[in-house]
């Protein structure tokens, strides 16, 4: 069971809800600010209108100014039903003509003028909106600005602002809920392909390693691709294992059967010389079986490493030298000249040191076992962008007709010779896995040459790889 994180759906829902809630709050606050401005604008118009009506009622009589605040002005203001109204009209000398004597003008410093000035303030403890405007009067003995100051409490403004805010908040909330529902639905729909993938994989036969074929949106297709890639590699490995097991079973069964037959013969043989002969055969078979087993194991190891081991820079020269040393037994049943000829001081490729050592050893081993009556040479050289490892022997070699066959499992160039066909198969496998190739030829002096060609690391890659290695 994989550890369960919080549900993707839940997490998305949470994030969306939080974002929408914050959005609603911000919008609500903005709506409140805006509504206050709007309410002020609306009621300011009434206020200014009423003040103008009062200013219109200003008249002059000889030596004095009169004012007759019209009822209509107050009825205009009474549209804000519950609001208190305060006002004051002053003559050019600044004395009150009527209204509340202690009501302050909205005008701060600037000179009196016709333009209405609006301000917020308090009167008798009530928060009020104040407008002040002037009217210039001239007449006998009178000359100057009459100022009308009109104030109204803010109840209706607040009510309107609250009302506007509430309505826009309702809208915002409605939209948020809609958006939330829509987004959650969308998320659910978007996540559906994942469920489809899950269902498809769950419904699968455990043995079925075919790629999952589901039509999925781009985002999920990447996941499906990864799964398919993984399935592909798994199938490859399982296939390799199955092949290997079949190979191994077959390879081991045949000599075992032969061995059993020979042991049978041995047990019934009474003649001593024949018996010795039989015993030698049995020993030979057992040796053969041992070789086969170790080859199978090395093949298994190579296959395993190919899947598992990270490739690194490998210098072929020391690896080849070591492999040669290991592969050539201290005592040979015949006199073979073994030569190591590195043409370069170092040949660095990207690869798995162990596998490469193994295959060189394998190839050398093969050469000793199948031919090489007098010469075995291991040559290393550079050919353009390739490092070339050549195993040369003076034996009969493999007939060109079999060159293609010989690298397939179970096929030996010489069906009679003792040993296993696995040797060159492993070599071919590993070389291919390193991006190289395996070739055969007869050289000018008639020697048989097996060439392992690996792509060289470019000098830049070389340096980089080496520093990486050092690190």
């Amino acid at each position: 069971m994989t550890p369960r994180g919080p549900s993707l759906y839940g997490r998305l829902a949470g994030v969306i809800t939080v974002v929408l809630a914050i959005g609603a709050l911000v919008l609500g606050w903005a709506a409140w600010l805006y509504a206050r401005v709007a309410a002020d604008e609306a009621y300011d118009r009434l206020l200014v209108g009423a003040a103008l009506q009062i200013a219109e009622s200003v008249a002059t009589e000889p030596g004095r100014v009169t004012v007759d605040p019209p009822i209509s002005a107050f009825e205009t203001l009474a549209l804000a039903t519950d609001d208190r109204i305060f006002y004051r009209v002053t003559d050019p000398a600044g004395d009150s003509l009527t209204g509340q004597d202690d009501l302050a003008s909205a005008r701060k410093q600037d000179r009196p003028g016709r333009e209405p000035v609006l301000a917020d303030g308090t009167y008798r403890g009530f928060p009020v909106r104040i407008v002040t405007l002037g009217r210039y009067v001239t007449g006998p003995g009178v000359d100057g600005w009459v100022e009308v100051t009109l104030a109204q409490t803010r109840l209706a403004r607040l009510d309107l602002a609250r009302d506007l805010t509430l309505k826009s908040l309702l809208l915002v909330l409605g939209m948020s809920v809609l958006a939330l529902v829509a987004l959650l639905l969308a998320v659910r729909v978007a996540l559906r392909p994942l469920q489809a993938v899950q269902a498809a994989i769950a419904a699968r036969d455990p043995k079925d390693l075919q790629p999952v074929e589901i039509e999925a949106p781009r985002e999920v297709a990447m996941l499906v691709d990864s799964i398919n890639h993984f399935l592909g590699r798994l199938a490859e490995r399982v296939g390799g294992m199955e092949r290997f097991i079949a190979d191994a079973a077959h390879q081991i069964r045949t000599p075992l059967t032969a061995l059993a037959a020979q042991v049978d013969l041995l047990s019934t043989e009474s003649r001593a010389d024949r018996r010795r002969q039989q015993t030698a055969r049995v020993r030979e078979r057992i040796e053969q079986l041992g070789r086969l087993t170790s080859q199978l194991l090395s093949h298994a190891m190579v296959i395993h490493r190919r899947e598992v081991v990270q490739l690194g820079p490998v210098d072929l020269v020391p690896v080849a030298q070591a492999a040669l040393k290991e592969a050539v037994p201290l005592s040979l049943d015949r006199d073979i000249r073994v030569v190591f000829e590195p043409a370069e001081p170092s040949l660095v490729i990207r690869g798995d040191r162990v596998s490469i050592g193994e295959v060189i050893a394998n190839a050398v081993h093969n050469a000793i076992r199948h031919g090489a009556p007098g010469l075995l040479a291991l040559r290393l050289s550079r050919d353009g962008e390739e490092a070339v490892v050549e195993i040369v022997d003076d034996g009969p070699g493999i007939p060109p007709a079999d060159w293609e066959e010989v690298v397939k499992p179970f096929v030996r160039g010489d069906s009679e010779a003792a040993g296993s066909g696995l040797g060159l198969t492993i070599v071919a496998d590993v070389v291919l896995a390193h991006g190289g190739r395996l070739t055969f030829r007869q050289d000018a002096s008639g020697h048989f040459v097996v060439s392992l060609r690996f792509p060289l690391l470019s000098p830049a890659e070389d340096a980089k790889a080496l520093t990486e290695d050092a690190a």
Binding site: T66, D68, I71, F74, E75, L77, L97, T98, R124
Partner: protein
């Protein structure tokens, strides 16, 4: 009572700033626990049934009833408010413009209850000022002195009458002294909105030397005695009360348009007993209180019902001719001092020749 009132008014004339109040106390029928002080500009005779009825449901309340003329009451209430001094628990007056001014200045306590919310919209403002009566301004005449066909049913009738027989009606037509009577001023100010009729009216009043009085009761008494033929813009409730009591007067609700007032009540912000005051206010507006208002105290109902013996317009009072004095900020300009000064001056100019005889 009247003696006290006239004395009070006389004092007012002499020293109009500080009013001496005529106090009547209605002791609690049961054990007294609370005392409620009402400052009113309302005839006690009209208001008494309400007090008695209230004491039936609140027997532990003693009620002090202080009576003022409207303007004096206004000054008293405003003085208490501005000095932040506790005084009356309720202020009751027919000059609702005074209450609107007081409420506007923050002198009133808000009260919201099922009873206040049930009152018609035009009778309340800010949950602070409430009207609890319906009182039309009526034309009152002496039945013995005016032939039925002469009875003015519209203002134009009255204007015609004054134009045709100035000598007969000289000094025989009475009205409020609008400088002292708040309700008279209010009615006149609303009449003045009909500029044409109003101009001809006061021109006629000037020609016939209108007699002005401070109070409804004086006018009604003189009408009953035959000293006055016709009274204009008299509070219908008081007139009907007198008629009911046997005064030989007739009452006409004008057929052209009807000014109607709802007597106002307000709880001063500094009351010592807000709960009791609210209780009394709720009582006034309750169905029980309204029944007393209509049947025993002020006779006209807020529903527009007209009592027997009052000549109403043929279509009744609900028709479009009704001009209620809406309680609200629209009443503020009537108390504007420049406007008031100018209005009074014009009134006095128009009535030149009509010598106010003062109070008796």
């Amino acid at each position: 009572m009247r003696a006290v009132l006239t004395l009070l008014a006389a004092c007012l004339l002499a020293a109009p700033i500080r009013a001496q109040d005529a106090v009547t106390t209605f002791p609690a029928p049961g054990t007294e626990r609370q005392v409620l002080t009402l400052d009113t500009a309302t005839d006690l005779s009209a208001f008494e049934p309400l007090i008695r009825d209230f004491q039936r449901i609140a027997p532990d309340v003693t009620i002090r009833y202080r009576e003022f003329v409207t303007n004096a009451l206004f000054q008293q209430a405003r003085g208490e408010c501005y000095a932040e001094r506790a005084g009356a628990d309720l202020v009751i007056t027919s000059s609702v413009d005074h209450l609107v001014v007081l409420s506007n200045a923050g002198c009133a306590l808000a009260h919201r209850s099922p009873e206040t919310l049930a009152a018609p919209g035009w009778t309340r403002w800010r949950d602070e000022v409430f009207g609890f009566t319906f009182e039309p301004a009526v034309i009152v005449y002496n039945r013995a002195l005016l032939k039925p066909e002469e009875v003015p049913r519209t203002r134009l009738d009255l204007i015609e009458l004054m134009r045709e027989q100035p000598a007969r009606f000289a000094g025989r037509i009475g009205g409020y002294d609008i400088a002292r009577s708040g309700i008279g001023y209010l009615f006149a100010a609303f009449d003045a909105r009909n500029a044409l009729i109003y101009g001809r009216l006061i021109e006629g009043f000037g020609r016939t030397r209108l007699l002005t009085r401070c109070c409804s009761s004086d006018l009604i008494e003189e009408l009953g005695k035959g000293e006055l033929f016709i009274g204009y813009n008299i509070l219908g409730s008081y007139a009907y009360s007198a008629q009911k009591a046997g005064a030989p007067i007739g009452i006409v609700i004008p057929h052209d348009y009807v000014l109607a007032l709802s007597r106002g009540v307000m709880i001063p912000a500094r009351t010592r007993q807000p709960d009791l005051a609210k209780r009394f206010l709720d009582y006034l507006l309750s169905q029980r209180g309204q029944r007393v208002v209509q049947q025993e105290a002020f006779f006209f109902g807020l529903n527009g019902s007209v009592p027997e013996g009052v000549e109403a317009p043929p279509g009744g009072l609900t028709s479009g001719m009704l001009r209620p004095i809406v309680i609200g900020p629209g009443l503020l300009p009537t108390q504007d001092r420049a406007k008031r000064e100018r209005f009074l001056r014009e009134w006095q100019n128009a009535l030149q020749g009509a010598e106010p005889r003062g109070l008796q």
